[in-house]
Symmetry: C2
Subunit: 452 residues, 2 copies
Amino acid sequence: MATRGGKLFHRIKINPPQFFALGFLLLIALGTILLMLPIATADRHHLSFIDALFEATSAVCVTGLVVVDTQTTFTLFGQIVLLCLIQVGGLGFMTLTVFIALLLRRNISFEERHLVKESLNQDSYQGIVTMVRFVLLFTIICEVIGTIILGIHWGDEFGYPKSFYYGLFHSISAFNNAGFDIMGDFSSMTAYVDDPIVNLTLTSLLLLGGIGFIVVADIFQKRKTRKRLTLHTKVVLWMSAVLVVSGTLLIFLLEYGNPATIGNLSWNDKLLASYFHGVVPRTAGFNSLNTADLTLGSQLVTMALMFIGGGTGGTAGGIKVTTFAILLFAVWALIKGKQEVNIRNRRIPGDLVFRAFSITTYSVLLVSLFVFLLAITEKGAALNYIAFEVLSAFGTVGMSLGLTPDLSESGKILLSILMFMGRVGPITIAFALAFRIRKTAVRNPEERIIIG
Amino acid sequence: MATRGGKLFHRIKINPPQFFALGFLLLIALGTILLMLPIATADRHHLSFIDALFEATSAVCVTGLVVVDTQTTFTLFGQIVLLCLIQVGGLGFMTLTVFIALLLRRNISFEERHLVKESLNQDSYQGIVTMVRFVLLFTIICEVIGTIILGIHWGDEFGYPKSFYYGLFHSISAFNNAGFDIMGDFSSMTAYVDDPIVNLTLTSLLLLGGIGFIVVADIFQKRKTRKRLTLHTKVVLWMSAVLVVSGTLLIFLLEYGNPATIGNLSWNDKLLASYFHGVVPRTAGFNSLNTADLTLGSQLVTMALMFIGGGTGGTAGGIKVTTFAILLFAVWALIKGKQEVNIRNRRIPGDLVFRAFSITTYSVLLVSLFVFLLAITEKGAALNYIAFEVLSAFGTVGMSLGLTPDLSESGKILLSILMFMGRVGPITIAFALAFRIRKTAVRNPEERIIIG
Ligand SMILES: [K+]
Ligand SMILES: [K+]
């Protein structure tokens, strides 16, 4: 199968990342058409092509930025179309990540093959089937549990069986890190700021979906065999914990005296809301506080978390926690004057450090470019509003200071492009670098220049 | 001498970058004391410690951000103190850069030694003397020519010999990329927006000072011997030209219809003002338009140019054009799926690419941290105002949207620290990496993680 798949790619002259991007584009096109159907929108209120394209892109890329309110604009049909796009987009991303890795395993380095193999304990056709089954099973279990908890909890408020539909929608949205909600009037979870069940269920789902199934597979595996976890798993778990704790703490401290957000809440609710807002930027896109009311400091913390994102091979976006971890340890090595990057008594290979730097540089340039372009198309919009929406789109987060629904047509098109690039970009680069053709043609002579 | 110098550093247990930073700190301390003297300020208006520290740091680091207006606050004595700090700071930075390189030439790689040697045509004690003489001579010639041109030009306006003092002050300020002015009321060059002589003299001076004397030395050298210029020189010249042209063009396009800036000027003056504002962010800090009136797009272009800065070993700040060039070519190689970074048929060594990434990452993290800190200390300030001043301080530029004089005490201290770090940081890192001790202790076993 691996060989057959490899041959197929070879024959149609398309490389796996391109194949992957193409699949997403087709899904977005299908979604756009479906969302433009009159039965998709309430009161037969036809959606414009650009709005439908934006919504479909946002759903497929599990971003969650919306130009219209989901609950009031879409019919049940429209909402289910969105839900399907989210589920296929999220699952597709998760499975394709390793599908590609397995397909091309002959070209990847021994260490990487070993890592994928160790995580999945398979490296054949059987491996792909096992992996897809594992991802599907894990997804379904998480989403079903979420649906049941939320469905029962919301029973009084929405009545049965409607409460289960609400539970299903928000569970799928949370697990896939999509951040779409059907609470109406762009309100997201603001009505549940002090509701621990809603807060904890949603954050658990989005963390499980966003951590990356490579980590989940490794943990399940090692629980049986009692072998040590891979460095990858340890880094993701540690880094995620550090980010959740520091995000929560920073939001708590920065909003403590802000009456528009948590200032007037009880101590417990202050903590709950801070925790929620420390977690959602990576990269779920719900909000229980009015994001635009956050202090500029909290908005910047949120932007940083959105840029970093979640784990590789999950539903999260951003440059990924592992990339960020390598950056941090590389800068630390720099400060200490060390030549090599070490994490927890393990040396990180130089090419991996190079890749982490490349992905980050590409991402910073991309984000900067789009901030600049939106500063031109959205006259009068403040920089924090523009930067926030751009980082939200890039990190496929979906949080908003409220600018997105008011965007110009060009602005909507720009953000659609960025949502797509934010979703497929980093993984494409990572793969391009990993599977880079080793053969060297005639090399140029070397010459140094002076920098810094 | 090289050996003696090396032994000296070894004996006092301080490495050259630390020695360099210490010298700057002592100079700042001296400047702070002098500026706090009653005779330094007009009407015996005593400067507070924090304001004096800020001004001294800004002068020594040739930044040009000011918390008080230079002309109305300082006496002639105070202004001359500032001028001396600027000249010593600028010259010191230029000479120390290669002084360190020559001192440690035994530890630097063969290629780098060759590059420094080729640029200076010397690699001994004689080399240091030649180099310092060359830098001094070049500085004096440029500043004298600038003083004469501006002194004559401003004769009618200020009267002789005062006009020559004005010429001297602004020539020194321009050549050293300091951006201090004595035009009063924070007005900088706004009165001369349509004056080609002032505009072209100042931009020529700041470009000559900012391009880095390594390039100047190389050009002087090669003009005699008719050999090909080093790749370093070519990259600096090309990249500078690209940045000047694209900066000018972008400002022109973005401000064309803005009546608060160039909207009501003639076509020629529009171009002149755009050229001035395309050049000054790298990193002179003058302005002929009211910076706060620029469109957000132009402000962002300015911020990007401030971050990039000028040439290594000159008076400019920022990550430097060579660093930026390597980044661009590295991302380009990435997109093309190439394994190596090539510029103009020359291969850039991997460790140099790694250094460029490191400097940039460190800089982005530093800038982000300070934007965040100022967002906390400066309540109510808009993000573009904060980001602009932070990038201006980091890049030792000195342009301002007007926030600096209104900063809180903590804000002033933060920006002082950042001006210092922006000046000594990138070069310290570059040297630390270049002279990194090669010996490897017990190495950790290698392990890969998955990123992107
Ligand atoms: K999302
Ligand atoms: K400056």
